[in-house]
């Protein structure tokens, strides 16, 4: 599969960052996140051959939207995460949610099983359906820009 140029560059950058990160013995979050984005890019390309790249702006709209079919308890992603993902969020039961923004929580979107679990649940709660690969990639791209 041919990756979009921007994504390939991201992967290359992530690779070089990885070398530095290993030397500093810090978790290699950037490379792990790039791999997850590449996973969703491949799926998005499979669903739509015209898929070019993920959009942080689209991810932002998706995050702030109040979908018509949302469950009453969870009208929007921003209901728990707040409208600024650099903020801490709060679950309905009152627990703190660490910021979704990568700048604040660098470990976000670095473990595929966890990413899948929370997209599955929260897409069902807010959008009442599974999210598309493109939507997930846009979302992660938006959070990486914050």
């Amino acid at each position: 599969m041919k990756l979009p140029i921007r994504l390939s560059v991201t992967l290359l950058l992530a690779g070089s960052l990885a070398a530095g990160a290993a030397a500093a013995a810090t978790p290699d979050f950037a490379a792990a996140r790039a791999a997850i984005l590449a996973h969703y890019a491949a799926a998005a390309h499979k669903a739509d051959p015209n898929f070019k790249a993920f959009s942080a702006a689209a991810g932002r709209s998706f995050f702030l939207a109040h979908p018509a079919g949302a469950r009453p308890a969870t009208p929007s992603c921003s209901y728990c995460h707040t409208t600024d993902p650099r903020n801490q969020g709060r679950t309905r039961a009152g627990k703190t949610i660490l910021p979704m923004a990568i700048s604040r929580t660098p470990s976000r979107f670095t473990k595929l099983s966890k990413v899948r679990l929370w997209f599955r649940r929260n897409c069902q709660s807010v959008y009442r359906r599974a999210c598309t690969a493109q939507e997930k990639g846009n979302y992660i791209t938006f959070m990486a820009s914050q």
Partner: protein
Amino acid sequence: MMHYRNIILAAMLLVPGAAQAATPTPTATPAQIYTKQCGACHMAYPPTLLPARSWQAVITGLQHHFGEDATLGRRDTATIATFLAENAADGPLGNREFLRGLPPTMTPQRITDMPFWRVIHARLLRPGIGTGPGIRKAAACNRCHNVNGGGEGGEGGGESGG
């Protein structure tokens, strides 16, 4: 002097086995998996506070868990279901004291619907508690109780990792 009942309760509020290590590892114990997964959104309630049939209803209803989708992977679901059944009030490791006043026909999914809870917390059962913002107080035992190993606190519990 601390009332004996409070001492028992304080001991019961510990999630068995969860206090030793807060960070789940690939060889995480069932208690750790329970605390990590369930404690991501709310306090990881001590399993002995509900009977096994209640936990079974909670587990089978995770798609609509108090208004949210809280489904888990198949393996974690099975691990947590077994852990809850074993440590439920009527389970082999549970404390039957918490079944007091509970009719066998009743399967509450909220601890605050358990008769023992309502007797002990009668003063909290005023309008506003159990609905709206008040539910946060009633659902967060650690607001008033010193609870260890429940995954509570401002850090975000199991939600923090990558």
